[in-house]
């Protein structure tokens, strides 16, 4: 079992090994020649200014919206909570497609910044809302009793306590931004991911693409280490036991309408525009046709791949989770971190790594379904690990002991106690993997066997050849599939971040 877990972690770390190994293999002279170029500097500048801009904007929008909804007398709070999380159900590349199909003006830096921020600000909104709900209102009350104004309470009491949730969310936005490919390609803003993709398409598996992937992986590592340091340094959640008490909400007064208008504008841009555009293409687009047969075939392929990937990921996560939960060993925690590192690499890096490694070691695997599944497993393992972990902690050994003392034989204990206790967590983990695979674009584009089309790649093929109407049904199907995942993620965030 331990050996199996180590193998799992090693698999997850393939992308990292690939980057290091490739660089060593290539030699310093050639590497530096490929890295220190004006083109790379330009890409680095583009990637960083877009990533940091999106992080800053998401922080402001996410925190502001969370504060308005959780701490002021703004009406329709339940509705806003849903509307502000819902953008997560629209994959960023679908959002990019919707915007560019409505107006050509969204290309370039500002367009890319707008579209990606609208897609990713909920990643900040969610943890901040959860943290706000977990805060003891007594802290704010005592601050107010000490004579602090509402602004001062926010700045001096709330913000310092929200810091960890906020930083965590912002870094998550950063990691997503570094991996973003589809939206940026559609909006014609060149970054590392788009350059790697173009490079790969033109000179298959050339050193240029691989070295670019190496630089991107290095940038990504910096973000991951920052995130890890943040999580290690402070405890998440469990900030107080005051969740049951209701907070005194701040009267917005003359800011009532501006605040309401702001939230309405944000929701319009993040939800109504993409959904509206999609609906328009679905209903009125001239190129829209409902090729039911190919739609069904693509959907079936997608679901099939996703289901196998989910089973593989959950099985791998079980090996890891079992190790760290039942034995709480340092090895287990280390291996878990390892999978986390591997999976936080951009999909394009993971795909390139698998292609390179498979061509060198097992040529038969290249462009085969197992390699694609492995890619999915590496990318989405953490989603399974989190849920399997909670499933394993549900099935505490004590329950098994009690059942034994009641005379229940081993197999019956598995059926009557262990499996029912774990079913929820395993199911949630598998569902999240299925739904993530259903909207995965980048790695699928590179790894899918010739002729195999998923919803995302079919959509991509049509929309990048400007057949917006024909692409619409595929986008709609993806949104329909990822909506439940968004709901699950919302619940999970709420659970892990509040007492």
């Amino acid at each position: 079992m331990v050996a199996a877990a180590v193998v799992v972690a090693l698999f997850a770390l393939i992308p990292l090994f690939f980057v290091i190994g490739y660089t060593i293999d290539l030699g310093w002279a050639q590497t530096s020649e490929l890295v220190f170029r004006a083109r790379v500097g330009e890409l680095l500048w583009n990637t960083l200014r877009l990533t940091l801009g999106c992080m800053a904007l998401s922080a402001v929008l996410g925190t502001g919206a969370a504060w308005l909804v959780e701490r002021t007398t703004i009406p329709l709070r339940k509705l806003w909570t849903v509307l502000l999380v819902a953008p997560l159900a629209i994959p960023a590349f679908v959002n990019g497609y919707a915007w560019i199909s409505v107006t050509r003006t969204v290309d370039g830096y500002w367009g890319a910044l707008l579209v990606t921020t609208l897609s990713y600000f909920p990643l900040v909104y969610l943890p901040v809302v959860a943290a706000l709900r977990g805060l003891d209102p007594a802290l704010e009350e005592s601050a107010r009793s000490l004579g602090l104004s509402s602004q001062a309470v926010f700045g001096r009491v709330l913000l310092p306590q929200l810091r960890i949730a906020l930083y965590g969310g912002v870094l998550l936005v950063g990691v997503h931004m570094l991996a973003e490919f589809g939206a940026l390609q559609l909006l014609r803003f060149p970054t590392f991911t788009t350059a790697i993709y173009d490079q790969f398409r033109s000179s298959f598996n050339g050193p240029a693409a691989n070295v670019l992937a190496g630089v991107l992986a290095a940038v990504c590592l910096v973000f991951l280490l920052a995130e890890l340091g943040l999580r290690g340094g402070a405890r998440y959640g469990r900030l107080g036991s005051g969740a049951a008490r209701s907070v005194t909400r701040i009267e917005l007064g003359r800011w009532h309408w501006p605040a309401l208008g702001g939230l309405a504008l944000l929701s319009t841009l993040a939800l109504l525009v993409p959904l509206g555009a999609l609906l328009r293409w679905l209903l009125a687009g001239r190129s829209t046709a409902f090729p039911w047969a190919s739609l069904a075939r693509t959907a079936a392929t997608t679901v099939g791949l996703a289901a196998v990937a989910a089973v593989v990921a959950v099985a791998l996560a079980l090996a890891l989770g079992w190790l760290s939960e039942r034995y709480g060993s340092r090895l287990g925690a280390l291996l878990e971190r390892g999978t986390y590192f591997g999976s936080a690499m951009p999909g394009i890096v993971v795909a390139l790594a698998l292609i390179t490694v498979s061509i060198r070691l097992v040529p038969g695997l290249y462009q085969s379904a197992p390699l694609l599944i492995l890619g999915y497993a590496i990318l989405f393992l953490p989603r399974a690990v989190i849920n399997v972990r909670s499933a394993l902690s549900q099935a505490r050994p004590l329950y098994d002991d009690v059942a034994r003392s009641l005379g229940t034989p081993t197999l019956q204990r598995l059926r009557r106690v262990t499996l029912p206790l774990m079913a929820g967590g395993l199911g949630a983990g598998a569902a999240l993997v299925v739904l993530a695979v259903a909207t995965e674009l980048t790695a699928t584009l590179l790894l899918a066997p010739t002729g195999t089309q998923t919803l995302a790649t079919a959509f991509w093929g049509l929309s990048s050849s400007l057949q917006y109407g024909a692409a619409a049904p595929y986008a709609a199907l993806m949104i329909a599939i990822s909506a439940p995942a968004t709901y699950l993620l919302t619940r999970q965030a709420g659970r892990s971040l509040t007492p």
Binding site: Y399, V402, S405, R416, V417, P420, L421
Partner: protein, 370 residues
Amino acid sequence: MSEGSGRAGETAPAPALTVRGLRKSYGATEVLHDLDLVARADGVTALLGPSGCGKTTLLRLVAGFDRPDGGEIRFGEQPVYGPGRCVPAQRRRVGYVPQEGALFPHLTAGANAVFGLPRTRRRPSTARELLAGVGLDESLAQRYPHQLSGGQQQRVALARALAPRPALVLLDEPFSSLDAGQRESTRQAVLAILRTAGTSTILVTHDQSEALSMADEVAVMREGTIVQLAAPQQLYRSPVDPGVAAFVGAAVLLPATLDGAVAHSALGPVALDPAAGAAATGSVRLLLRPEQIHIQPDREAGDATAPEGRPGVPARVSGLQFYGHDCAVQLQLLDGGPGISARTLGGSAPRAGDLVHLTVTGTGTVFGAP
């Protein structure tokens, strides 16, 4: 399997549980060494000890969840662990109630109660009977564990453990997770249920008042062995050493000289408990319980116009904690000597700084000098 054979005879039934020379180590730490324990049939034996003394380990070995390193365990006449023999937990048929009850969270209270019964007997009607047997309303059968109070969960856990009619029930600190209000009532209810069911019970606890009030016999455990096994009153009156004395209740230990069956200390002569055959002579330590030390106000002693008997030893009240029903008093003898603590009824509490006279009621126990 011939179960309940221990209860057949009219004369002195076989003990419910016999443990001989039991050993268990985790890594380099030896948790139990050569532990001997005999638990009587048809009664409650409390296993009392501070946390970390190995109580729970012993319980887990008896239940069969873990394997001992050596020794012998018998249920009645039947060996369940011994040389070349280890009956697995699922065939030992002991009832086990862990600390927080550990009800299966995915099953209702009713389904939990009937869990250990054969499939044909897992009916709602049986579940309701079992719950009624532990004093729970039938309407609770449909509730899930998280919808029950701590005390209700403990009762369901007890119903579940008793349902297959085990000859031996193990309770692992079952009341420690309950709040003070529920604890006493749940204790009484559980005791009544166990007595009605007529099973032999081992109750693990670190709470001496729980052990003394609930058990027929108390086994005091320390550092992996049983140091004393006795009925509660005997244990309280004649503990085997000062450590046990202090563990089962507040103790006043005074240096004394032994003269036959009388110990002379700063509080005057005290007769020894005739049941405890004290062999020591000369310099000893005298054990008294705080409630044996009687406090008389100075004025009253003065008014009594020099009684011909002993007026008591003069002392000053240096501190006191008033609890309502009773009161703990710290005293300093006027002619020096160790500080003494006493316990009086709340109605006759002195005040700090008062001059009082102390007399001793009842008998004492002595230990050899340290």
